[in-house]
Amino acid sequence: MNIIDMLLAHAPALIIAIPLLGAFLTPLISRVSDKGRNIFAIIILGITALFVFYLASDVLANGPITYVFGSTAETVQSSTVIRILFEIDALSIFMAIIGIILAFVAVLYSYAFMEKNTGLDKYYTLLLLMTTGMLGMMLTGDMFNFFVFLEITSIASAALVAFWTNKSKAVEAGFKYIVISTVGALFVLFAIALLYGQYDALNMAKIAQNLGLSGFTFLDKIALVLLIAALAMKGGLAPMHMWLPDAYGRAPASISLLLVGATQASLYGLFRIVFTVYGDVISLPTVSIGWILVLLGIITMLIGVVMAIIQTEFKRLIAYSAVAELGYMALAIGTGLTIVANADPTITLQTAPFAMKAIIGGLFHVINDALDVGLLFLVAGAVYYATKETSLNRLGGLARNMKYTTVFFIIGLLAVSGLPPFNGFASKLLIYESTYQLNPILSIVAILSSILLLAIFVKVLHAVFLGPALPKFESVREVPKSMLVAMAIIAGIIIIFGLFPNLVVSNLIEPAANALVNNNSYLQWLTGGI
C-alpha cells in the first residue's frame, strides 16, 4: 500500500519523531485517564520498536542508509555539505536495537513499579524524551546534532534520577549528575567548534574526508583529546566514574535500566569519533590511543570490583559492578585499536587476527552487559517494591516469598560473572582469548575481575535471598505480573543469546565490527562510491 511505503521510506525520521510526539501528548492524555497514559506510552514505544526492526533488516541487507532532513536532493553543493544528515550503518542500528529494547522493558516495568507515586505524567514525558535523545545520539551523522541529543538525554535523565524528591539523596545525585554532564558536554562543544573552524564542516563524513586529505594538525590533536576525555567521562570510565554509583544507585529501578543505555550511547559516540571520523589519521599520534583505552579499561575493572565488595546498599553495589563491566568494553575495543591504528605497515588486521575478534567481543559485550546488569537492577527494584528496604544488612530469607524473583536473580548472577551457558560467557571468552595475545597480564586481570564479580553477587544472593525466614518479612508477597513479564523478557533474551551465540555474532555483530574498522562504507555517499 502506498501509505505504508511512504512511512517506511521515512523510518529514520519517524524513529525520532514518534517518541517526541508521544512525550508532548502524554500530559494531555493523563488528564483524561491514568491507565490510558500508561498504555499510550507502551504503544508509542512498540511502534518505534517496529520501525527500528524494519530499519535494521534494511541496513543489514543493503549497506549504510543516509537520510536527509528537509529535501530529496543531495546535500553536497560545490563541495560544502548543507542540511542535517542521518547516517545509519550496522553499528548505529545495533546500538538502536539495544536502546529500544531497554526503553520498552523500562516502560513495561514502570506500569506497576511506579503506580503508587504522584506526578507520573512528568515521569512518562521525561522517559519518552530520554528515549528520543538516546536514539538520536545513535542514529545521527552530524556532530552538532550529536551534541544536541547528548544534552537532551542528560537533562531528561538528570530530572528522572531526582524523581523521588522527598528523599534528599536522590536530589543530590541528580544535581551531581547534571553538573558533571554539563561540564563534559561543554568540552564536547568546544572540540566541535575547533573542528568546524578548521574544516567548515559539521558532517561526520565530510570531516573524516577533510582530515584524511589535509593531515593531522595540532588543533586536531587537541580536539581528539577533548572528545575522548569528555565522552569517556560520560561513559563511566575510571577515574572519572564516580558519578555512576550515585546516579544509578538512587534513581528508580526502571530509570537505572535506561541510564545503562544512555551510558553506552556515549561510549558509542567515542567509538564513532575514534574509528570513523579520525579513521584515516588515528595511526599518527606517537602514544597509541589504543593503549590509552586499554589502560583506562584495566583501571576501571579493578576499581569497580574492589569498591563493589564493600558496599552495603543493593543498587549501589550493582552500579559499581556496572562500572567494572564498562571496563571490559574499553579493554576489548582498545585491544582492537592498537592493531588497527598501528603505524607499522607490516602489522595489519590480516597478520594479527585477534584484533578483529577483540572488537567483535567488545561489541557483543555491549549488548550482554546492558541485558545482564539491567536484569539485576530490575530485581533490586522488585525487592524494594516488596519490602521497602534497600540495605543489605536488613534483608534476608526472601527466597521463600519471592520465588520467581530469585530465579531471575540467579540467571542474572550467572550471566554477569560469565558462567556457561549464558551470554556473558560467550562475549567474555572472546575478550579473554584475544587480549591474551596482546599481553597475558590483561587477560589475567579480566579473569580475576570475573571471579570477583561472581563473589560479589554470591554475597548478595546469600544476604538477600537465602537464609532463615525473618519475622518482619512474613507478609511479603511476589511482585505484580507486569514487573515479572518485564524481567522475563530480558531473561528470555539472555537465554536465547546464550544458547545461540553464533546466530547473533554473525548476523548482527560482525557487520557492525566491519563497519567500525573500515570507514570506506561510511564515506561512500560522499566520495561517489568505490
Binding site: F144, V148, E151, I155, A158, A159, A162, T165, S168, K169, V171, E172, A173, G174, F175, K176, I178, V179, T182, V183, L186, L189, F190, A193, Y196, G197, L202, D246, I310, Q311, T312, E313, R316
Partner: protein, 115 residues
Amino acid sequence: MIANIPYLAVAGLIIIGLYTILFKKNLIKMVIGITILESGVNLFLITLGYRLGSIAPIFTGNSEDALMSYPVPQALTLTSIVIGVAVLALMLSLIIHIYRHHGSLHVSKIGGDDQ
C-alpha cells in the same frame, strides 16, 4: 595581535569558570561557574564566524554581494544558549530542593554516604 583578543577572552573565561567549579564551596557559586564556562564556549563559537569588515548576514536592505559574516556559527550559538538556559533552570530547582532538606548550601553537605 588585536585580532587575537577574542581568543584570549575565551581562554580567560574558561579558566575562570573551571576555577570556580573546582575550588568554590558554595553550590550557587558552582552554578555561576558553569554559566561562565558556557559563555566562554559560546564566545568561541561566535568568534569563528567573523570576517574582517563584514556586516550581519541579513539580505533585506543590503545588496547581495556585500561581505557578510558566516551565519552557521550564529545558529549553533543560539542553540547552545537555549540548552544552557534549560540546564541552568534544572540546576537551580534542584538546589532549592537541597536547601529545603539540609538548610545549608555547602558542597560537603551533599556528599552522600560512600562506603
